[in-house]
């Protein structure tokens, strides 16, 4: 218990220590101030601008910035989709040693949309679907560009808040985010991760003959497997496992693992994602991956303080976010550490907590740290199976994804936070009967409309598609757990996709045409609508006259406003989502403590 708290405190402290220098460096990168690495990066960037015919001095107003962003993302989407569709061709056999077959176009549509939007929801098992070429050009590539797109939009938004009508040049921001922030860090950390045991090879699967040799039929291990129980007919050919054989899939995992977390992407090389020992072999790699996830989203807040020259404002935001972050970590840890009372009652020790779907090397502290980080920073990788979390513990990922602003993803997380800031300022302005002001600009009808629309998109997408799924009974067979938990599976899916998170209650068999199509639409609308609306808001604020600060100005950088912001998030955010929480995790929790279980129909 004490060592668990110590582990969590150390990881949070390390994250804080990274935030300050990285935030300072990123501010220099996006304010075009000299940094120590200019000698290396200037020639590279200039070459990129020359090849791409980018005029780096050309500023873009908000519509131009959005247009460049959307067109570039479209071109990248086409490249990713094309990669998936040709992965099985003999021409690319060198990067397909395990002979992966042709991809279903619906799945390819969903996955291209999922990766370009930084969601990384995965409707497939990586090791059984994607060739190495797809993993590299279809996953690693958008892991950089989607993260850099979000970061660029966040930077542009901050420039607008600072009063600049030109939000910058999208191509320059995209390039600098990749060459000066993401590539160097991913490269160094990626190589280090190989040293900690993550594979980096182009060789195919390794065949092995196990020490034990063939299993005795009807062994206890066979009983332990749910698939073996579920399959109605015995398999015609015995599995490799039962014959004492193992085929160990591997590949260029390390380069994916570092940018997967640094870019808060979350798409796994393997189906089990960061629970897989090849993606996350030890508690140390677990800590590294958590720190990578938090590095840029937290640094953006610090960068904002420098770019706007309003450090106190940045610390106020940071304080609010850190409070939410710590509270959600505690909710997760306490619930998971308490374990599953239904198992305690049949003689299972509660000392380790709820171990179903978790890995021994991580234990509860590292698992809770990861689950909280991956949903707060909208990464979506998992080091445990969230579907097997206790209902109380699952409140943490749900809350992080509903609010979608507890640091949040690259750039977009801050943009989402700003929705609540605008609404909070507006409401307090109404209460005291004064025109609300924010960062020296008046907040008027136009801004409040944009912020409200951006906020409403999120529940609209989640509830809209949930309602369609249940009302029209679309692919209800995809749900794997009976009772309220089954409802939670569908809720988790659309919440995760709308929040561009990508983690899952993975029992849901979502590789169906309905989920592929509705999911593709959800990730795209969830990503771009709020970005477009909020960049419009930034453009509108930039064009306004600055109001001089007087004694009557309501400050937004003190504790009172921090309280207002927390209240706004709780009232608007939490109340919107409370009714569905009652139908899912809360009902599930009440059943669990009452000792009630649920039986699947027909079993």
């Amino acid at each position: 218990m004490v060592i668990d708290i110590l582990q969590m405190a150390i990881v949070l402290a390390l994250g804080f220590l990274i935030m300050i220098p990285l935030g300072r460096y990123m501010a220099a990168v996006f304010m075009f101030k000299p940094t120590f690495a200019d000698g290396l990066f200037n020639p590279i960037d200039n070459l990129i601008y020359r090849v791409c015919r980018v005029n780096r001095d050309e500023g873009m107003r908000w519509p131009g910035y959005i247009k460049a962003m959307l067109l570039t993302n479209l071109a990248m989407w086409v490249l990713i989709f094309a990669t998936f569709m040709v992965q099985h061709e003999p021409l690319f056999a060198a990067l397909n040693p395990d002979g992966q077959g042709m991809m279903n176009p619906f799945l390819a549509f969903m996955q291209a949309s999922s990766f370009i939007t930084n969601t990384d929801w995965q409707n497939y098992g990586g090791e059984s679907t994607f060739s190495y070429m797809s993993q590299m050009f279809g996953l690693i590539f958008p892991m950089f560009t989607s993260a850099a797109t979000g970061l660029a939009c966040g930077v542009a938004f901050i420039r607008g808040l600072g009063g600049s009508v030109s939000l910058g040049n999208f191509y320059v921001d995209l390039t600098r985010g990749i060459t000066r922030v993401m590539l160097p860090i991913s490269l160094v950390v990626g190589i280090a991760l190989v040293g900690f045991g993550i594979p980096a090879t182009f060789d195919g699967a390794q065949a092995a003959t196990t020490l034990n040799g063939p299993l005795t039929p009807a062994s206890p291990t066979a009983v332990a497997s749910p698939e073996a129980n579920a399959s109605p007919t015995p398999e015609a050919t015995p599995s490799l496992t039962s014959q004492g054989q193992q085929s160990i899939t591997r590949g260029p995992v390390a380069p994916l693992s570092s940018i997967k977390h640094l870019g808060t992407n979350g798409g796994g090389f393997f189906n089990a994602n960061s629970a897989h020992p090849f993606e996350n072999p030890s508690p140390v790699t677990n800590v590294i991956e958590i720190l990578l996830m938090g590095a840029i989203p937290a640094s953006i807040i610090y960068m904002l303080g420098i770019m706007l020259d309003k450090k106190k404002q940045a610390w106020t935001f940071f304080g609010v976010l850190a409070a939410f972050y710590t509270a959600f970590l505690a909710i997760d840890y306490v619930n998971e550490k308490s374990g599953n009372p239904l198992l305690s009652s049949i003689g299972v020790s509660a000392a380790q907590g709820n171990m179903e779907g978790k890995e021994v090397r991580f234990g509860q502290a590292q698992t809770a740290l990861f689950a909280n980080a991956t949903t707060a920073f909208t990464t979506g990788s998992v080091d445990s199976m969230h579907d097997s979390m206790t209902p109380g513990g699952s409140v943490t990922p749900f809350s992080n994804m509903f609010l979608n602003m507890v640091f949040g993803g690259k750039g977009v997380g801050f943009i989402n936070l700003f929705i609540f800031v605008v609404l909070g300022v507006f409401m307090t302005g109404l209460m005291v009967g004064r025109t609300p002001e924010l960062l020296g600009k008046k907040i008027e009808v136009h801004e409040v409309k944009l912020a409200s629309l951006a906020f409403l998109m999120h529940p609209l997408l989640i509830f809209g598609f949930m309602a369609l799924t249940f009302a029209l009974q679309l692919d209800l067979g995809a749900i794997s757990n009976p009772g309220p938990h089954g409802f939670s599976e569908v809720m988790y899916a659309y919440t995760s996709m709308a929040a561009n998170n990508g983690s899952a209650f993975a029992g849901l068999s979502s590789n169906t045409n309905w989920y592929n199509v509705s999911g593709g639409i959800t990730v795209i609308l969830g990503r771009y609508i709020s970005i477009v609306l909020m960049l419009a808001l930034a453009g509108s604020m930039a064009a306004k006259k600055t109001v001089p600060m007087t004694i009557g100005t309501m400050r937004t950088d003190n504790r009172v406003f921090a309280g207002v912001l927390v209240g706004t998030v709780l009232i608007i955010g939490a109340l919107t989502f409370f009714p569905v929480m009652a139908l899912g995790p809360i009902a599930d929790h009440l059943a669990m403590v009452a000792g009630q279980t649920f039986q699947a129909a027909g079993s």
Binding site: A68, T145, T216, P255, V287, M355, F362, T597
Partner: protein, 190 residues
């Protein structure tokens, strides 16, 4: 060709091609064995498995890994994943009960069953078990190998991997390494 197409193609090649090739190249040079997946070979050079990946054991003389939901019979390293069973799913309770009953058959003196012994891991390939899990298997393994429980307990305790840097994660035992060392130290009579 406009800038938005040019920059997409250029980044496609840089981030999708050059970057992973650099990491794989450097990783292969600096940490070849780990880059290849920490594969363990026998003295004839045949692959036995990976130190990081659980494999199936069912013989009494070996320590058993955690239950696995990867693939039809578990431990399928081409199909990683957990059971995804909810805490309130009756199927989970039934499975855990069956596993707990089997554990108690091996060690009738066993009180509360260690949780990791009877629950599916997240990946289905968890290479480790908790020290409590290993100790609960000592009576069965000692009997099969003709060792005293005291001897074997000492052997198990030597194989405990502590928390990383003394702080992070949990103490654990790598099942494949433990079983390999056990075979070397106390070979089974053929």
């Amino acid at each position: 060709m406009p800038a938005w197409i040019r920059i997409s193609i250029l980044l496609f090649l840089l981030c999708g091609g050059v970057y992973p090739a650099l990491v794989v190249g450097a990783g292969q040079l600096l940490f070849h064995d780990k880059a290849q997946g920490s594969i363990i070979y026998d003295k004839d050079g045949n692959a036995i498995g990976s130190a990081l990946i659980a494999q199936a054991f069912d013989k009494d003389q070996y320590f058993h890994p955690r239950p696995s939901a990867a693939g039809a019979d578990g431990y399928d390293a081409t199909s990683s994943g957990g059971s995804n069973l909810a805490p309130t799913n009756q199927k989970l309770i039934d499975q855990v009960k069956a596993n707990a009953d089997a554990a108690k058959q091996d060690d009738p003196a066993l009180g509360e069953v260690p949780a990791d012994m009877v629950t599916n891991s997240g990946s289905g390939l968890d290479p480790d078990i908790s020290p409590e899990n290993a100790l609960a298997q000592v009576p069965r393994v000692a009997k099969a190998r003709g060792m005293t429980e005291q001897q074997l307990t000492g052997f198990v305790n030597q194989h405990v991997i502590g928390r990383d840097l003394g702080i992070f994660g949990e103490p654990r035992i790598n099942v494949l390494r433990l079983n390999l060392d056990l075979d070397a130290a106390k070979p089974m009579q053929k």
